[in-house]
Symmetry: C2
Subunit: 341 residues, 2 copies
């Protein structure tokens, strides 16, 4: 029997209800095993389902504290020792769960998981990864660092390229994922000292390297892993989010102001837009792991609904079932010489 | 009679035809005066309109060379002394034209204009500005540096904030434009050494400062001027462009794959989408000047059509008519003490 996924049920924007519901879906529809961590009476009431407890497919671990979105990450990790986030990570560190999943405070999750798991040997800085809808064969691309490290050294970016490629290769069974360094132009002379040095290191690694890529390449599908510093990565993601929302709002506004015929057109177009939204839905690709930690910690979006939690649990299980941990460690070890020069 | 705008007719992606057509529109519809610079026989044939020459509303200056998109900027500026780009700038430097406009190689235009005009006294680094569609009262926001300076110091960003705000204030008659520094979060502790120091300098300046802004704020409308280093600015613009194109393509693809009713919906929606495209059209806001130069040089998009050229000429004339040059120099002088500490 596989080890369960430990799910922080308390830290999301919408409280424990969608998290518990998503866990139940993952158990019933996907055959997952889950330990919910949080306020026991609340979760027990939300869960119902005594048969799942009897089968050891669902368990509850009580935690008295909650990490809020405003908590300072290092403080939350060190001081809130009885938080649902911390106890979910402890279960993994203690070998009672295979992976931790949290929709809570990203920075706090990084600090907590780092404290509980440590880094993969040789990894200098862990990073956030974000999966974006893209025309690749797996329907997404991976951008990292998405914001953990605003100031970076070249070797950090190079290691993330190796980690990202190995993750997609193993968890998504994608052959030879293509890696690129985000820059302000395609030619090797472009970029900054940081990007040029990162590119030089990656050329010495064993990843399939495209070279530089630009902001407009994120969704195109010929690159699978984009590496950049956490400042640029965060700004890119928020720019993409802002433009997406702006365009969506403009379409809505356009229909509102339009004549009767165009309004009818909007009505008839609804199923098409709904299908498109589903396809581009970031929840579908599921959560991404924190990259560079010795064990699996997955960050789900703060506003995750039950479906997103279910998909996050599936992503965590895929990671565990494919033994991604060991492959990541091996890839870092294999490229250590290339990056040390 | 106002001095003419000197227009580089040769450097755009589509050759001189749309540039000449745009100049004629600007003259006839807006009352502009234009000097076209490039291959004289070609332009004379394209222009026709002997009455405009007779009225001194249109003139042609011959140039034997063309700066291509592949030319290395510094080389193009120094070696191609008889290029249409260089001669357009020379006309401004010699007092024969009020402003230069070029749809050509951006880097070469920056290098050429810098060589011909020099910088505003006290400005350390000139920058590219890009106008983006946004829900401000003027329908756009300004991002700079859009790519001239991949590696920056804090005072560069601070000066661009002053230049950008002064430009919008004078050329668009916008009262107290709001300036923000692009960062990876709203709180002052976020960002990098560069952004924190730039923010500290701007706090000492006389601009209306919002503080930090994120990538998602570009179109929102409560900030008018976003400053960032040229690496991040370039990556942001290309990310925005890529997402916009991805969403447009997905909508097209969605309609193609949809059933007959949704296809009809798409047909009926066409006027709405066309109107939206017009409103979000970057050509409508016109070209932006290069910021920090002693005289006015405007960069039009390489793929500009006649309408975009006409709007670019209008933007250049607005700059000249409002005496923006002098206001920019005064703003830099006024804030020199704040930025020198």
């Amino acid at each position: 029997m596989e080890l369960p996924v430990a799910v922080d049920a308390m830290g999301g924007d919408h409280g424990p209800a969608p998290v518990v519901a998503g866990a139940l879906e993952a158990i019933r529809a996907d055959g997952a095993r889950v330990v919910l961590v949080g306020d026991e009476p609340t979760m027990r009431q939300l869960a119902g389902a005594p048969e799942l407890f009897a089968d050891h497919r669902l368990a509850i671990v009580h935690a008295t504290e909650v990490v809020s979105m405003d908590d300072q990450p290092a403080m939350a990790a060190r001081k809130k020792r009885d938080s649902s986030m911390r106890k979910a990570c402890d279960l993994v560190a203690d070998g009672l769960a295979a992976a931790a999943l949290s929709p809570g405070n990203s920075g706090a999750l990084m600090a907590t998981a780092l404290l509980c798991f440590g880094r993969i040997e040789g990894v200098l800085r862990p990073a956030f990864g974000t999966l974006l809808p893209a025309r690749t064969s797996i329907g997404c691309s991976l951008l990292l660092d998405a914001g953990a490290n605003p100031e970076c050294e070249p070797v950090h970016l190079a290691q993330w390229g190796v980690l990202g490629a190995t993750y997609l290769e193993r968890a998504f069974e994608l052959e030879r994922p293509v890696v690129a360094v985000i820059s302000n132009g395609e030619e090797d002379i472009k970029g900054t000292e940081l990007t040029r040095a990162a590119l030089a290191l990656l050329k010495k690694s064993d990843v399939a390297l495209r070279g530089y890529a630009e902001g407009r390449d994120l969704n195109r599908g010929d690159v699978h892993v984009f590496v950049t510093d956490g400042f640029t990565g965060n700004v890119m993601l928020k720019t993409a989010e802002g433009v997406f929302r702006f365009v969506s709002d403009e379409i809505k506004r356009g229909y509102q102001r339009a004549g009767a015929l165009a309004k009818l057109g909007g009505l008839l177009s609804k199923p098409m837009f709904a299908r498109m939204r589903d396809e581009l839905d970031p929840r579908e690709v599921g959560a991404a792991p924190l990259f560079g930690l010795a064990r699996a910690a997955f960050k789900a979006h703060g506003s995750s609904d039950a479906h997103a939690i279910r998909r996050g649990i599936a992503a965590a299980r895929r990671y565990v079932q494919h033994g991604v941990d060991a492959h990541l460690a091996a890839a870092i070890a294999r490229n250590a010489a290339a990056f040390s020069g």
